[in-house]
């Protein structure tokens, strides 16, 4: 029974994706780009860096990178939390 449901869901998902991708999305190579054009022109004098991608990562969308650095920090703390050696002070109750 589970196989049948899984198969149906899978087919629906793939149909969605392929139809969306092939027919409806903008042709590859010709994206709408009004926000990006502004960034490409003004990145150099607003952020002073030649690498426009780094200026987007650290200045235009710096908050994302702050979130991302926090994600890395969370993952490291989480992994070290889980891999701690389990010697408890004394039994819970």
């Amino acid at each position: 029974m589970r196989q049948v449901i899984g198969l149906i869901v899978l087919l629906v998902v793939i149909a969605f994706l392929v139809s969306g991708m092939l027919l409806l999305i903008h042709p590859f190579g010709y994206p709408p780009s009004d926000m990006d054009d502004y960034i490409i022109e003004n990145a150099q004098e607003e952020t002073g860096s030649n690498n426009v991608v780094t200026s987007v990562v650290f200045d235009y969308r710096g908050f994302d990178t702050l979130g991302e650095a926090t994600i890395l920090f969370t993952a490291v703390t989480g992994v070290l939390l889980l891999l701690r050696t389990v010697k408890r002070k004394e039994e819970n109750s």
């Binding site: 589970r2 899984g6 869901v9 899978l10 092939l22 010709y30 994206p31 991608v53 890395l72």
Partner: protein, 118 residues
């Protein structure tokens, strides 16, 4: 619109990658295969994001000694950078939990605890 259909291969590749990873998520039992499925789903979505930003004949948006020509969109690349780091973090945490599960139960087949995903 129709004459561009054959050129949409990158989006088709991204869609197939996501489709395959859904197949893995729904049917595969082994936890490690499940994690690989999520890794594949992540690379599918990243490929889709980067493919969104390509401009024909464009070169990298870096002004140091760049040849003439239009520039590729920088924002999808910044998004993909963040998405890759997020997937590294998620994979690290999932692998740690698989280590712990293996240490507790001695097997990494998720038969008994499998949730119906899909």
């Amino acid at each position: 619109m129709m004459e561009h259909v054959p050129l949409n291969f990158p989006f088709l590749a991204a869609a197939l990658l996501v489709g395959i990873s859904f197949y893995i998520l729904i049917f595969k039992r082994n936890l490690i295969k499940l994690i690989m499925g999520i890794g594949m789903l992540a690379s599918g979505v990243n490929l889709f994001l980067v493919a969104l930003g390509y401009r024909t004949g464009g070169n990298a948006p870096i002004y140091t000694d760049v040849p003439e020509g239009p520039m590729v969109l920088p924002v999808p690349q910044a998004l993909t950078l963040t998405s890759i780091v997020i997937n590294v973090a998620v994979l690290a945490l999932m692998l740690t939990m698989v280590i712990l599960i293996y240490r507790h139960t001695g097997n990494i087949d998720s038969k008994k605890s499998r949730i119906l995903k899909g």
